[in-house]
Subunit: 525 residues, 2 copies
């Protein structure tokens, strides 16, 4: 396997040369023919449209060469085969195995990891089913109606975004079993607020920390335990843990049960493991969670395709590289035209920025090109009435990633002026794609739209569990492929460590730095 910095390849120089003289007008090129041609299939019936991206045939050819030369597919197979791809922490990267559909066998110290994840999937599926059947009840004998996840970062953003994405769908399809809530921030107002909104007697808490040592999560655990105690409830009947088998939380009688993950599933890739699986299975039932996994597994399979025109995750990754390194765009906006995906951009923000926000390659050597962009976004049409002004008429160009579905989740709609709200939603999106690409001339320059703002569109029939799994895995694989092109280790996060060390110093009163002490005092610590 060849691990080389991107700028060591011939194709990097050719892409640079190409970009210098690139004069591709979206206004002139974007028509129905291009819209029909530039579509790549995705899992669960979704499609990736890249017609409104600034790429021509030659660009696509060069990007295919980049994928080939950086051996993107071969490296993905290395991931699946359990090679040490998290070089910084000397770990395998096995979140794909959590989809439960992978036939590959990865073993470590004689343990079959895929089977381990399968077993946990089966265990928490059974647990959720038992809760729904009333086999587990709260300390006063009341059935559980609410589940509260206590976790932060990867133990929060992904599961929360997935829950919100399916909440309406589940309600409309009669499979919503429990209400889910989330406590993440160490700000005590967060835990106070969530616990105050729950009937504690009917609430099951899930404590999620892989290491079992996450400061915020442990503080919030104690916060919750004190609330339960005050309510006269035995906390061990109201709490389960999701952690690694070696953590202090494992096999601990303080919890009703514990479900396991391991070091080969990074937090930001853990939505398909027990970290997302417990809360989603409790909220919607294990079958819904398995449909979600099936969508992700199908996406993983499609990501094995070497032809970039048939591999949406790889193509999306490469177009992102083109925009970041050669067009010089330092950000990407993720804009779902679906209120259910309200927190999906926040999850992608973590997944992408924590994975590829790196200055050194997988061997710890500085790279001389830009890596991960800033990711941000809000749902449409809301964003149209907010920051789209800058997207249309600002001095910078921001690549856009739209997501949309033909049908709403609840099919509870109204017709005003001859069109449903769902029609209006998608009419707005079609209008935006066109407006961003083509712009509009005007004598009054304040009313002129320069156009040339590139966008892609992921679209499907309806946001179902399988479609959501497809969407999630698409972005996970996209980010992984970008890491391969950039020769990064996308699976560690050393950038979070220094803050932890300094926080400890503050809390121990051993600052060792006058500024650190001054800021601590200013903040009343």
């Amino acid at each position: 396997m060849k691990y080389q910095n991107f700028d060591r390849t011939v194709v990097y120089r050719n892409l640079r040369k190409k970009a210098k003289t690139f004069d591709f007008s979206l206004k002139d090129n974007l028509d129905s023919k291009r819209a029909a041609k530039c579509v790549t299939p995705m899992a669960a019936g979704l499609k990736y449209s890249w017609a409104a991206k600034q790429v021509d045939n030659e660009t696509i050819g060069l990007l295919q060469t980049a994928a080939d030369k950086q051996e993107a597919i071969k490296k993905y197979i290395e991931v699946l085969n359990g090679k040490i791809m998290n070089t910084g922490e000397n770990r395998k990267v096995l979140h794909h195995l959590t989809r439960g559909q992978q036939k590959r066998s990865v073993t470590e110290d004689g343990k079959n990891i895929g089977k381990f994840y399968q077993k946990e999937l089966s265990r928490f599926s059974n647990f959720a089913a038992a809760v729904h059947k009333g086999k587990f009840k709260g300390a006063t004998g009341k059935p559980f109606t609410t589940v509260v996840q206590i976790g932060i970062g990867g133990s929060d953003l992904g599961p929360r975004a997935m829950y919100l994405a399916l909440e309406n769908w589940a309600a409309a399809n009669g499979v919503k079993k429990m209400e889910a809530k989330f406590i993440s921030n160490v700000d005590p107002d967060d835990a106070s607020n969530v616990t105050a909104s729950c009937l504690l007697e009917e609430t099951l808490f899930i404590l999620v920390s892989k290491s079992g040592t996450t400061q915020e999560t442990l503080a919030n655990e104690l916060f919750v335990k004190e609330k339960l105690k005050k309510a006269g409830l035995d906390s061990s009947k109201h709490m389960i843990a999701v952690t690694s088998e070696t953590s202090p939380l494992a096999k601990n009688s303080a919890y009703l049960d514990s479900f396991y993950i391991d070091d080969y599933v990074g937090g930001r890739y853990s939505s398909t493991s027990a970290v997302g699986g417990c809360v989603l299975s409790l909220a919607f039932g294990p079958d819904v969670f398995k449909e979600f996994l099936a969508g992700a597994a199908e996406a993983d399979k499609m990501a094995l395709e070497p032809n970039i025109l048939q591999n949406a995750a790889l193509l999306d990754a490469l177009i992102g590289v083109w925009e970041r390194n050669f067009m010089g765009y330092p950000y990407t906006a993720v804009l779902p035209y679906s209120q259910a995906l309200f927190r999906f951009p926040a999850h992608l923000q973590q997944m992408d920025m924590e994975s590829n926000g790196k200055r050194v390659n997988r061997n710890g050597e500085p790279v001389k090109y830009e890596t991960g962009p800033v990711i941000f976004g809000e749902p449409g049409t809301n964003g149209q009435h907010s920051f789209y002004q800058l997207l249309h008429q600002g001095t910078s160009i921001i690549p856009l990633q739209f997501i949309a579905f033909k049908e709403s989740q609840k099919d509870d709609d109204v017709k005003v002026g001859g069109s449903t709200s769902q029609n209006k939603l998608n009419a707005n999106l079609a209008a935006q794609i066109t407006a961003f690409a083509k712009g509009q001339d005007s004598k009054d320059k304040n009313k002129e739209f320069p156009g040339g703002r590139p966008s892609s569109l992921i679209y499907g029939k309806k946001l179902t569990p399988a479609a959501l799994g497809s969407l999630l895995a698409h972005f996970e694989n996209k980010v992984m492929f970008q890491g391969f092109i950039w020769n990064l280790n996308s699976f560690d996060q050393e950038g979070v460590q220094l803050g932890k060390v300094l926080t400890k110093k503050v809390l121990q009163g051993k600052y060792g730095d006058t500024a650190l002490e001054a800021f601590s005092k200013m903040l009343g610590v």
Copy 2:
């Protein structure tokens, strides 16, 4: 008054020269002395610390000159005096008058605008008090317990962020009168979800649209009316309107009452008008809303100070300009260490990006320098476990704007390992400021932190209504001052128009563009 493009000034060239040879090390310079010195007072007892920004005395001197040469304070006084500062739409800009504390008299066609805002403030205060006293009740005679705002963009983001910011504070202080919810997106799942979560008999809806023609808002109004009808409730007893006096919604018997704004308060600046005032007064009582206004009014007054070291909004604006135009940073992250400010970054994203995301100056002539940056953010400590990796170790530098309070809002806390959660929250922030500024060397380059990541910190004792008003007005005035430096009209938003025009074409089936038609069909419109 001199309106000139920024690059026409001598100080622009001097700042460029300065930046070229600027070699200011935060690592070497940031100590307790600098932390103590670089603090500027704000309204309601807040403070603005800029010690961890990359500015030296000479930079400050040049920025003062930039403020003076671009006549920032004089232009602000022009705003207050009712000059036509929204040049594109030929309108005054009078949101400062909505704070209700301004003594200045601005008249138009014989009408005193400040008095008009005062009168509306008094009207909706009385209305809210009457609702709380049970003088208005739902169609079945039940008192109103929930208020739902229907609006989008400026009629949603600001009021929603302000409500969430004060919800806990109000609960802890026994002044929470009603639960507030918000419907904004035209995605029918949004309205369906919110209405399904309400007891309609006890719910009062506020329809907010200045023009009375906002597509999304009118669709959602009908959605809500159909739900009320199905529930056998007379919608005119469950709905009030906030609109302009000339809109179709004004003085309309379809509503219980109507409250007015006018064209001189832009949507993104309307949180202190009836747009924010009705929902906040209903939720927390009119007195709380008035405390919020008082904080904003004090901030407006302090923003009149010409010395940038004593004018936090102006200084913040200028440092932002320094970072955008001369240091070359195209984004700013807003990071509140306060869960209550969860949606504050989304509001700032609109306020900033819609105001200054412009390519032409106030006369419609293209500018040759960068204007408004991309704004994004999430609360700490959550963000630490998410995108901070890129902030610390990515290839790009992203300026940071922290916000924090010594005390939590609810004072419901727990001690773990010798420190409260509130202590941990702020210890984390002090650690982050230091880590971003100073970094850390390491032989293992993957564990090295380059530092030199600039941040500012707004801090105070507690997030109260007055503190929130101070915070809101700080950013409004900051964005206004940046617009003056860049010679922009920060008060129109022509960039939203083209999308509206094309959406209409789609809904009428008269595409006029093959790509627009193709994307519409793909999306099932």
